[in-house]
Amino acid sequence: MLWYTGRRILQMIPVFFGATFLIYFMVFSLPGDPIAALYGDRPPAPEVIEQIRAQYNLDKPFIVQYLLYIGGLFQGDFGTTYSGRPVSEVMAEAFPITLRLALLALFFEAVAGITIGLIAGLRKGKIFDASALVVSLLLISVPTFVVGFVLQYVFGVQLGWARTTVSGDAPFNELVLPAIVLASVSFAYIVRLTRASVADNLNADFVRTATAKGLSRNRVVRVHVLRNSLVPVVTFLGVDLGALMVGAIVTEGIFNINGVGGTVYRAVQLGEGPTVVSFVAMMVIIFVVANLLVDLLYALLDPRIRYAK
């Protein structure tokens, strides 16, 4: 197990370099001169633009720019934004907020999704099951930004229960509404996934055996049905953490949250290589770590799965 974990962590190194190189190349290939575009319709003198380009190494060939960036990384320098701020500072502000938002969303979709999915699976074909299916279908088909605007208008503007936008520190209580919006689509998938898996397992041999042994219904559901049904759900949740961090772009825009999504969006528009690459690399790492955790969780959920050398 330990060996397995170590090997997986070592694998992150090529993933990291591969990802940063590709992303850096893509940002570099964006058309247009980012410095000239910074000034819009009012260009300063070409000499001024040249000076700023040199300052950000934009006058050098791609590979030199990339190596300078990677070299900086080893000295703990993530580069600077075009407004002169260290990227590391921007990351330290943005990541905790988005991570909090994504984890809160993950919590909502896991707790509510698994609970509702379990009940629906146990009462397959009944009215609760039918309504859960209809609601989840609705959530899957309505785009996130529509859900976002509607909830913002109803709960923020009309009822005044929540703030319309999230303030700078993004405390947990203000993130509840955006997290629900962010969770909505995945929540629907988890309901359906859990329901199907529970319904399947209810008819499985080991459940029949457990019931025949005289175990209480409660214990059968908890230990035998639910635990076995969670394997696909946990896989989904692990992959979803990455998706949530990316999907936060829309939600963060609607609720003016100062997180990863908005920062990356702006940085791509400005063609700020170091910012985009540092942020995306960090997202890649979170994604890979989340997947590793999922794989490790399998062993806990299903003892038949064991990782050896």
């Binding site: 964006l30 058309p31 247009g32 819009g40 070409p46 001024v48 502000e93 703030r163 936008t165």
Partner: protein
């Protein structure tokens, strides 16, 4: 013992007077309580993260601009109508429009108690103009003697006479030069700032109506907190306690905040609310013309669109094929005003009576006729496109305009989308366009000259499509040396008649400022530059 007693008495007196004062405040008539509460109230408003550190000469975009003009006071400031009022300047005088003498008012200080002197301006301007300082607004000083785009050079045209007087020698006469001086690039800087510009840009020390609330007032990407500057001596004395400018990534989020009562003043309404905001906000909604001109350019290097008879016929035909009234109504819900010249209705000298203004009216028969005449010279085949950047919300109107052209002239016309502004700019700079390109201009200062020279003068900085006409250049030069404002205006209008004849830029409309404010605030007036006059706003 005695001392202790005295102390007790003092405490008692202080307590009593405090009680009396607070009692007084709550007892007096509503008028004065209102004044008392509003003069300490913080107004919240929208903004965007400044692109650069807050150095006045390096702040050329609106997000940083509204902060810089709030925390600095220049020689003059602008009224809501775009006229200048003296701030630090006592007088700005010249006999020949070329050699100016600026006298300052005594007693102004920066918020670090440093006095505002002639050196504060001369040093700041020299810093701004110096090539190696790479300030985005350096070109604002290119009309001062000694300016160079090629090498570091001192502005030899600036001379300090004494603490409160300096002289400015311009390279050429410019009658409305003082009109520029309220722009952020011309703000004074304290010595403390010039010593360490990097730290200064994070935490600027100004002399304006407001100042940063603390050295951590600027929370990046989030907001900036400003409070009133007690030492401010100018004409923009705040009647509120300060400003919190919250940075929004989207106008939609800001609009939701005004609706939800989290924001007092919003100076831009999102497209999605164009249809409803005036109903919803009633007299707290603003929809008035702003100093923003929008149109599209048809480069003279395109086949069939050269600066000759054929090209001219085609340009006029295209312009007359566009139904501006309908598009501003349907696409923009009346938040644009159809153009009749190349400036803006808020600029003195704007007119709808120029010779050639009829080319800006929808006239399908005439348009078809002109196009046919051009076809007689050389038949047109192919598709006419208008380039636009997809990241700026231009798609809807570009499609409407090209549809209008296609339907009227019976040719193919389409929008050509570029992903980003940078990508579109690239093709414009390298003169590789395959058709027209959207173009816009927001005035830096309220002068006709600022709407004409940077865009259409031969070789000017923002003249990307390479338009050049000596008749226009001459009229512009004559206008800038004119002795009276009337003469200057006449020249600038004549220069625009040249533009209407050549039509290298097809004027479309002026953008309006669309703002709303919450019930918590009063006296929200928008300036000529679409920014509310924050110092006038009161809050209950």
């Amino acid at each position: 013992m005695k001392i202790k007693k005295l102390g007790l008495v003092a405490v008692a007196l202080a307590a009593a007077s405090a009680l009396a004062l607070s009692g007084c405040a709550s007892d007096t008539g509503s008028g004065s309580t209102e004044g008392a509460s509003s003069s300490s109230a913080i107004i919240t408003t929208n903004g965007s993260e400044p692109q650069n550190p807050l150095l006045p000469a390096n702040t050329t975009e609106t997000g940083g601009g509204k902060i810089v003009t709030s925390i600095f006071a220049g020689l003059v400031s602008y009224t809501a109508d775009g006229e200048i009022e003296n701030e630090v300047a006592k007088s700005i005088e010249s006999d020949d429009a070329q050699h100016w003498t600026v006298t300052l008012n005594d007693g102004w200080t920066f918020t670090n108690d440093e006095p505002v002197t002639a050196n504060s301006f001369v040093d700041a301007w020299n810093y701004a103009a110096k090539l190696s300082n790479a300030q985005g607004g350096s070109y604002f000083f290119d009309n001062i003697e000694g300016f160079s785009y090629d090498a570091d050079s001192e502005l030899t045209g600036l001379k300090v006479v004494d603490d409160l007087t300096f002289t400015v020698d311009l390279a050429a006469p410019e009658a409305d030069w003082p009109l520029r001086l309220g722009y952020s690039a011309y703000m004074p800087l304290p010595e403390a700032g010039l010593a360490d510009m990097e730290a200064f840009g994070e935490n600027p020390i100004g002399n304006g109506p407001y100042m940063l609330a603390s050295d951590k007032a600027w929370v990046h990407n989030e907001k900036i907190d400003l409070v009133t500057n007690p030492d401010y001596k100018g004409v923009r004395t705040p009647v509120n306690g300060g400003l919190t400018i919250t940075f929004y990534a989207t106008q939609d989020a800001a609009y939701a905040d005004v609706q939800g009562g989290n924001l007092d003043v919003l100076d831009g309404v999102p497209d999605s609310a164009f249809e409803t905001y005036e109903d919803e906000f009633g007299d707290r909604a603003v929809n008035q013309a702003a100093a923003i001109f929008q149109g599209f350019n048809i480069p003279g290097y395109l086949e069939h669109f050269g600066m000759d008879e054929e090209g001219e016929l085609r340009r006029h035909a295209i312009s007359m094929a566009i139904n501006r009234d309908e598009i501003t109504d349907v696409i923009f819900q009346g938040t644009r005003t159809p153009a009749t010249d190349f400036t803006s209705p808020v600029i003195a000298g704007w007119t709808d009576k120029l010779k050639g203004a009829e080319f800006l009216e929808y006239n399908p028969e005439e348009a078809k006729k002109l196009w046919a005449e051009a076809d007689a010279i050389s038949p047109y085949t192919g598709t006419f496109d208008i380039a636009y950047n997809a990241d700026g919300g231009h798609q809807a109107w570009v499609e409407a305009v090209t549809n209008s052209i296609a339907n009227t002239l019976g040719i193919q016309a389409v929008g050509k989308s570029y992903p980003t502004f940078a990508a579109a700019l690239d093709d414009r700079e390298q003169q590789k366009l395959t058709g027209g390109t959207r173009a816009g201009w927001q005035g830096d200062y309220p002068s006709m000259y600022n709407f004409l020279a940077p865009l259409y003068q031969t070789g000017a900085g923002s003249n990307y499509e390479g338009y050049s006409n000596t008749a226009f250049d001459d009229l512009l030069a004559e206008g800038s040396v004119a002795q009276t404002v009337e003469d200057a205006t006449a020249k600038y209008q004549a220069a625009q008649e040249v533009l209407l004849k050549d039509m290298a830029t097809v004027p479309l409309w002026y953008s309006n400022v669309n703002g709303v404010s919450s019930e918590a605030v009063d006296n929200v007036v928008f300036g000529w530059d679409s920014v509310p006059l924050y110092y006038q706003i009161t809050k209950e």
